[in-house]
Amino acid sequence: MFDHFWDIDLSGEVISSLIVMSIIIILSIIIGIMAHFQNPLKRPKGLLLVAEMGVEYFDNFARDIVGTKLPGIGAFVMAIASYLFLAFIFGLTGLPSPVTNMAVPLSLGLISFLGIHITAIRFKKWRYFKRYIEPIPVFLPVNLLSMWAPLLSLTLRLFGNAIAGWALMSIIYYGLDNLANLIFGSFLAYGWSSLFIAPIITPVLHAYFDLFSGLIQTVVFISLTTIFIGQEIPEDDENLSSTIEISRKGGQ
């Protein structure tokens, strides 16, 4: 039964994605075990300290945008952010970066798309379907089309960034290889000359196209996701409760 199990033809990006996921899962399990056996009265050290700072940062980040009504959103945001950032910088290892395959940004976009609509259904119940016939029922096809705009924009932003960085780096590697061949090719065997120029120049460009661009795109992706999700939560109740609180305080 399992004779042909490993014959599945996976593309390199999917295998990189699986590696990134397993790195995150192993780290999470290690941090979870460390947090379980940690004495809460003592100061956390090393990996646990970093993890606690990250959790606190993402919790605050999500609470600033979404509010207190959706307590689990910090974990969701942190999971997406860690996967996306690791996937972007995974290209530094020389293996293909997972984001350069269209399937990975599309899945991330689908996750946030589903998150937006499930949150809307959860908080607005039947009033959710009212948005498709606003302002008049004639707008139904237009609204049905514009529903997909966030998914498309999130997906194409990530994919475009990753593929543009990859294409530019490929062009630069190709050009520098040719340049090195022109300069050193006369007295070195073929293949050895390419060791000279590219390794000196490309690390800076890798730092920009992989690290900086990856960080910025991660921030943009999680900001947009949390903002879109936060839009779907009605703020009326919160205002009402705060006004009640203020009036109660005024009454005292």
Binding site: S153, L156, R157, G160, I163, A164, I216, V219, V220
Partner: protein, 73 residues
């Protein structure tokens, strides 16, 4: 030949995006010079806005790369 021309025309779309990015940076500098205490907050918002403005340029770049490599027909 046609595909190269198409790629060249598609990548023209980065021009307005660059203008928009310049506007974002100019207004951010205005804000910082008026209110220097808010510099760190304005800077992080500016980087976010720049990335959002860049998106349209990236769409053009993506289309031009797709044209060059003849992906999708």
């Amino acid at each position: 030949m046609d595909t190269y021309l198409a790629a060249a025309i598609a990548v023209l779309g980065v021009m307005p995006s660059a203008l928009g990015e310049g506007l974002v940076c100019a207004h951010a500098i205005d804000g910082i010079s008026r209110n220097p205490e808010g510099a760190s907050k304005i800077r992080s918002t500016m980087i976010l806005a720049c990335a959002l403005v860049e998106t349209t340029a990236i769409y053009s770049l993506l289309i031009s790369i797709l044209c060059l490599f003849k992906i999708g027909g």
